[in-house]
């Protein structure tokens, strides 16, 4: 295993490599690739934190927990609510900020504030040839040249290994409340979420649990505002409901898909048009279903080895295998797009060393 302590060492490791490298942050997200492990945990530490500018810069191997703790002292947070995969996958280790960004990991709040990639202001990385590259910076508005920051976020290290990331952070709200609607079917639940998201009340969490027949809506902000908006939302949606204050643990459970923890079946994640959610779930043959992002993100518990992609057929979206064997993790791409992504991988990693085969 390689464990470089600096960006320079990271560049040397990659430049000198003659066999595939399996890139690993904290190793908590169940991504396995052939080759020698290249860990980033040795490059750790917050290098800059400016609360008044809402920016933090950290080395890629910095534990997410360390960043969250630093932000908490200034009453700020990573607003995109990154999922912790350890519970769902039964993995151990310390999730790193580089891993979060390389995999573009977002939680329930993604529907209102954006994804991890929307909070990534700048990157430093080492490409597959060993060149150190920077893109973006540490300011919130930056259109100077191509946005490789977005390209690196979600590339799972296949285009380069992150060495440093700079992020936008947001203030924590004064309080939050969650409205729980009881007894709705999946179609009714998703319709209620759509209605709420089409209101001016700035929903920051919108989920539906078909097992419990519960539909959840979160509002965050100043106390009088949250109270006012909750009442308005109750009026808008009606039916049997109650309000839970704060409910941090409840949403941490949704973020981490805790409902599917400690089961043996395959776990899939489907990204789709929200209103298509219930029909897709019905087609899937799933043993369990959870809707997040107002229906736009479906978590499915599937019989092991079942080909979900074949079951779903064509739709606007894609499926990712989060846990399971013998199937491709990522959805195969349409020909034109596949040619572009293959071209990019070839240019950024000409020897095909970085997480070989993971994304095609």
């Amino acid at each position: 295993m390689y464990l470089p302590q600096t960006e320079t060492e990271l560049a040397e490791v990659i430049r000198d490599a003659d066999a595939p490298l399996a890139i690993s942050g904290g190793g908590t997200r169940g991504v396995t690739c052939e080759g020698v492990t290249l860990g980033t945990a040795g490059m750790s530490g917050i290098t800059l934190y400016e609360p008044g500018a809402m920016t933090v810069v950290a080395q890629a191997g910095t534990p997410v927990a360390e960043i969250e703790a630093a932000l908490a002292t200034e009453n700020q947070r990573l607003a995109f609510e990154p999922m912790d995969h350890r519970r769902l996958l039964g993995t151990e280790g310390e999730p790193t900020i580089g891993g979060v960004m390389a995999a573009n990991i977002s939680g329930p709040r993604r529907i209102s504030v954006g994804a991890a990639r929307d909070f990534l202001l700048g990157v430093r990385y080492v490409d597959g040839a060993g060149a150190i590259v920077k893109n973006g910076g540490r300011v919130m508005k930056n259109v100077t040249g191509y946005d490789l920051v977005k390209l690196m976020s979600g590339a799972y290290g296949t285009l380069g290994v992150l060495s440093e990331v700079s992020l936008k952070v947001l203030p924590c709200p004064e309080t939050s409340a969650t409205l729980i609607l009881e007894g709705l079917t999946e179609v009714q639940g998703i319709a209620a979420l759509a209605k709420a998201l089409g209101s001016p009340f700035e929903i920051t969490g919108a989920a539906h649990d078909p097992d419990k027949r519960q539909t959840l809506l979160r509002i965050e902000g100043f106390e009088p505002s949250v109270r006012y908006r909750m009442e308005a939302l109750q009026k808008l949606l009606g039916g049997e409901n109650h309000v839970v204050q704060e409910a941090g643990i409840l949403w941490a459970g949704w973020r981490d898909v805790a409902g599917f923890a400690a089961v043996d079946e395959d776990i899939w994640r489907v990204s789709c048009k929200p209103s298509d959610g219930p029909a897709l779930a019905a087609k899937s043959g799933a043993l369990g279903v959870r809707y997040d992002w107002a229906g736009g993100l479906i978590w499915l518990r599937m019989p092991a080895g079942h080909d979900l992609r074949e079951a779903l057929g064509r739709y606007d979206g894609h499926a990712t295998l989060i846990r399971g064997k013998d199937q491709q993790r990522f959805e195969p791409e349409a020909t034109g797009v596949a040619r572009l992504t293959a071209g990019l991988r070839e240019r950024f990693d000409p020897r095909n060393l970085l997480n070989r085969g993971l994304m095609g």
């Binding site: 946005d147 572009l340 240019r347």
Partner: protein, 482 residues
């Protein structure tokens, strides 16, 4: 400003290129007479002009594909054009190019409130996207100042921002999918009505690529329900530094305004003389706007004013009504016009870390004296996006060059303090040769590698974004390949 010399071999093929384009487009959509191509000789960076060889105005994705296929086969450079409002020269033609204007493609394809998106043809103007959904209470958030005229195509090309992006983000944060035509005519679909990319985030790199990777003909955009209301507070300070500290304290307090605008003394004075908005004469003026119901606004403005009080403002004026809000915004919205009354001006667009604000303003003031050119600063203070307006006299020989040198020094300063050359206008030709200041050779090489993949012959908007010396070998290969 240096532009590559037109390729004589391409110019010699003009008649054939025109004939082939006329075969796939209606006659009036192919503009090739010199008297008519002149209409496309520049964008909003009017200091630089060059009529294109041909301009075409296709009406469908299929027509765009047919045009690009022909240009690809003929080795003709293509400069895509939205509404031509670029301040960076993003749509400046070369004499051997085909201008591909998307202005005729301005329809709404689909509106879906349940899933909160609108799909439009990209020639549609930014404001008319909101126009298509506002009766139903929705809006499209990115709001560049030119939103009445600028096209979504250009917004995507430049990843445009606006005054309200502190809360709602810029174009890339509100773009869900595109139909794009590659230089060889192939049509690709990227993204869609779902929230995250399936594989690599191609959408993320297409947005802001200044029309160099493909021609985006349709876009799926996120729409939001309008807030119940919005009102600003105006505050004046005797010191830039204090105003900067106030911004920082507001952000740290957990209030996230929808906009924080900053004007310095020269800009306030110009604006007052022009628009008579009733602004206080002071060193720094902030306009902070929040959204919500009336009670919610009052609550947030009270918190903001409490913070402002701690910084001894010389003026603190909370809007209580739509009329008072309009009065507060009047000066800010006429700032560019006011500066324009005082002479020709160049508008810069660098971004700095908010903490560097006092230092940067002080240095700009010093440089203003050194160069003997006046400058006013308007500023999206929440996100550090500066808009220094440098005044010069276009009729005075050498003044434009002096102004450009001053502007370049300001942008270098932005990079030096940890910021960047451009926050929302794009690089275009204007900042092309300054890219070396912000990026090392390897950084530029990585970006150019993306273009190599999307447009191997470097035919799309080829002389933009990258310093000419950095991109030269690639552009020469394209010419030699003929």
């Amino acid at each position: 400003m240096e532009m590559p010399r037109p390729n004589p071999a391409v110019l010699a093929r003009k008649a054939r290129v025109v004939e082939r384009l006329q075969a796939v487009l209606p006659a009036q959509a192919v503009i090739h007479e010199e008297s008519e191509t002149r209409a496309y000789e520049c964008d909003a960076l009017t200091a630089y002009r060059c009529a294109p060889m041909v301009a075409v105005l296709p009406a469908t994705t299929a027509e765009v594909s047919a045009v690009l296929r022909i240009c690809h086969e003929e080795g003709v450079p293509v400069v895509p054009r939205g509404s031509g409002t670029s301040l960076a020269g993003g749509a400046l033609p070369t004499a051997d190019c085909v201008i591909l204007g998307v202005a005729r493609m301005n329809g709404v394809i689909e509106t879906d409130y349940d899933n909160r998106f609108i799909r439009v043809q990209t020639g549609r103007t930014n404001l008319s996207v909101t126009g298509a959904v506002e009766e139903d209470g929705f809006f499209y958030a990115p709001d560049p100042s030119s939103q009445l005229a600028c096209a979504i195509a250009g917004n995507i090309a430049m990843n445009s921002g606006g005054a309200h992006c502190l809360k709602y983000g810029v174009t890339t944060n509100n773009l869900m999918g595109v139909t794009m035509v590659m230089m060889d005519g192939e049509i690709v679909e990227i993204g869609g009505t779902y929230l995250d990319a399936g594989g690599l985030d191609l959408l993320g790199v297409i947005c802001g690529s200044e029309g160099q990777l493909g021609v985006v003909t349709e876009a799926t955009l996120r729409i939001l329900h309008k807030p119940e209301g919005a009102r600003p507070v105006l505050m004046g300070f005797d010191d830039n530094e204090v105003a900067g500290a106030c911004v920082s304290d507001i952000i740290k307090a957990g209030v996230l305004p929808v906009a924080i605008e900053f004007m310095d003394r020269p800009c306030i004075e110009a604006t007052e003389a022009f628009a008579h908005a009733g602004y206080p004469m002071c060193e720094a003026l902030l306009i902070v706007e929040v959204e919500g119901s009336d009670d919610e606004i009052d609550h947030q403005l009270a918190l903001i004013m409490e913070i402002a009080q701690r910084h001894n403002p010389v003026e603190l004026r909370q809007s209580k009504s739509a009329e008072e809000s309009a009065a507060i915004w009047l000066g800010r919205k006429s700032a560019f016009g006011a500066m324009g009354q005082m002479g020709d001006y160049m508008c810069l667009d660098g971004t700095i870390p908010v903490s560097s604000l006092p230092h940067v303003l002080r240095r700009i003031g010093e440089m203003s004296k050194e160069y003997g050119l006046r400058v006013g600063n308007v500023f999206h203070a929440g996100d550090g996006n500066m808009h220094p307006l440098i005044l010069f006299d276009a009729n005075k020989p050498g003044d434009l060059e002096l102004c450009e040198a001053f502007g370049a020094d300001i942008l270098k300063l932005c990079v030096e303090v940890g910021g960047c050359l451009t926050g929302e206008h794009g690089v275009g030709i204007e900042k092309r040769d300054l890219m070396h200041v912000q990026y090392a050779a390897a950084d530029l090489e990585a970006q150019m590698a993306v273009k190599d993949v999307f447009d191997p012959q470097w035919l799309l908007n080829p002389a933009k974004v990258f310093p000419l010396d950095a991109s030269e070998s690639r552009r020469q290969v394209a010419i030699a390949a003929e």
